[in-house]
């Protein structure tokens, strides 16, 4: 019975990356089948845009100044939904323990979850942007905006994955995540909103660049710190 069981003898980094890949793949495969998380996020995102439409009277003039704000609020709200669900799946059947029992570094779990959460978020954004463009008969999609959306989502998911693994282990669970996440993610959201509206209003690049730089710096800082403290969140 032992003949087939051998472990790879490759470097630590190789097995680390394989573990990260396995976790991300597992989430994506499960989601591809059930589509529970994505459809919930998507419907919710569209509802938020609908509500904004009535709340803000999104006529042409108003749209120019508030579009980027509307988009990021939508992404942030839909994002908490996804983050909560993605962590609840790990907690409910004890799967988080299953992951922790594997001989991989805890940060592999963090990065694996960050990747799958990021993919979910990007899928939702990739649908919301064209829908918004069609609904309001404008073209939002440009290379610059896509870059901002990517950078903003990385920072958002980087902190969100850490905090959702904390929230899921508390009594108040789902309620807690937005309360924990929104106040600390303000710098990322401010920079993302300003950079997006810069691209949407076709401002000169030297006005947008400081915000892009900030976004990159925030992403690096937040992910580095989340990576360092993730151990403390999952290990008793």
């Amino acid at each position: 019975m032992n003949k087939a069981i051998t472990r790879r003898s490759s470097s630590g980094l190789g097995s680390f990356l394989r573990a990260v890949g396995a976790i991300a793949w597992k989430d994506l495969a499960a989601e591809l089948r059930s589509r529970e998380l994505l459809s919930a996020m998507l419907v919710f995102a569209l509802l938020v845009i609908l509500i904004f439409n009535f709340a803000l009277e999104l006529d042409v003039k108003a749209r120019a100044s508030v579009t980027s704000g509307v988009l990021w609020v939508t992404f942030a709200f839909a994002g908490t939904l996804g983050l909560n669900r993605s962590m609840a799946v790990e907690k409910d059947r004890g799967c988080l323990d299953g992951l922790l029992l594997a001989p991989v570094d805890r940060s592999a779990i963090y990065f694996g979850k960050v990747i799958s959460n990021l993919v979910f978020m990007l899928i939702v954004e990739a649908i919301v942007l064209p829908v918004y463009s069609i609904l309001y008969n404008t073209n939002l999609i440009s290379l610059g905006l896509i870059g901002v959306v990517l950078l903003g989502s990385i920072g958002y998911v980087g902190v969100g994955t850490l905090l959702s693994s904390m929230a899921v282990q508390t009594r108040t669970r789902d309620v807690l995540l937005p309360i924990l996440l929104f106040p600390v993610i303000v710098p990322v959201l401010v920079a993302a909103v300003k950079a997006s509206s810069g691209f949407l209003q076709a401002l000169p690049m030297d006005e947008i660049l400081p915000w892009l730089n900030l976004l990159v710096v925030y992403d690096i800082i937040f992910i580095a710190v989340a990576f360092m403290v993730f151990d403390y969140v999952v290990e008793e």
Binding site: V159, L162, L163, M166, A167, Q169, T170, R171, T172, R173, L176, I179, L180, F182, P183, V184, I185, V186, P187, V190, A191, K194, E207, P210, W211, L214, Y218, I221, F222, V225, A226, V229, Y232, V233, E236
Partner: protein, 232 residues
Amino acid sequence: MTPTPRALRILEIVSFLLFVAAVWMVFFYAPLEAVMGAVQKVFYFHVANAWVGMLGFIAAGVSGIAYLRTHDFKWDIIEVAAVEISLVFFFIAIVTGSIWAYPVWNTWWTWDPRLTTAAILELIYMAYMLLRQGIEDPERRARFGAVYALIGSLSVPLTFMSIRLFRTIHPVVVGGANAAAQGGFDMTPKMLQSMLFAIAVFSVIFVTLFWHRIRIGFLAQTVEQLKLKLSQ
């Protein structure tokens, strides 16, 4: 029951006397500001309160790191004490700021970077309290609290930077003159002395309160221990 330490009792009296002195200085030593008048007096306490909030904020972040490194519960007690003090004093700073702002700029609230950051800090610390409330196991409560305090103390300076940049690119003129909107006025040496004195006094008050709150934390822990002994 351990009696209040002698040094703490002395510190209480010193804090009180210094506070009286600070009040005297603000009202009788510092001159009346020419444009804003008597309401400008609130400025001295406003700055001093914000300063204490800041001290608490730094203490909370540092004890968060210390807890994660040592897993020693004393750091958890110190962290909670720091967060609570910071929460209260930033709240006072926000209120005094509004009292100052209303007659001067004709608005209770301006989205000034410092004011906004203080408000977000309040929200972070309220979230911190809610997080702790949602966890039964004291070890996990301390661990998560420390992680969140750490993330918060990282995020707040970044928030301040972002909002400042936000405002420099799009200057918003509140009320009348731009200089006043930024909170600028020419301070005479006596005003400066009063402000620095108020800050020093409030630092002493901070130490007194912090000490008291930490002591309460340890006493509460002793009570829990005794309860546990009784129940077994």
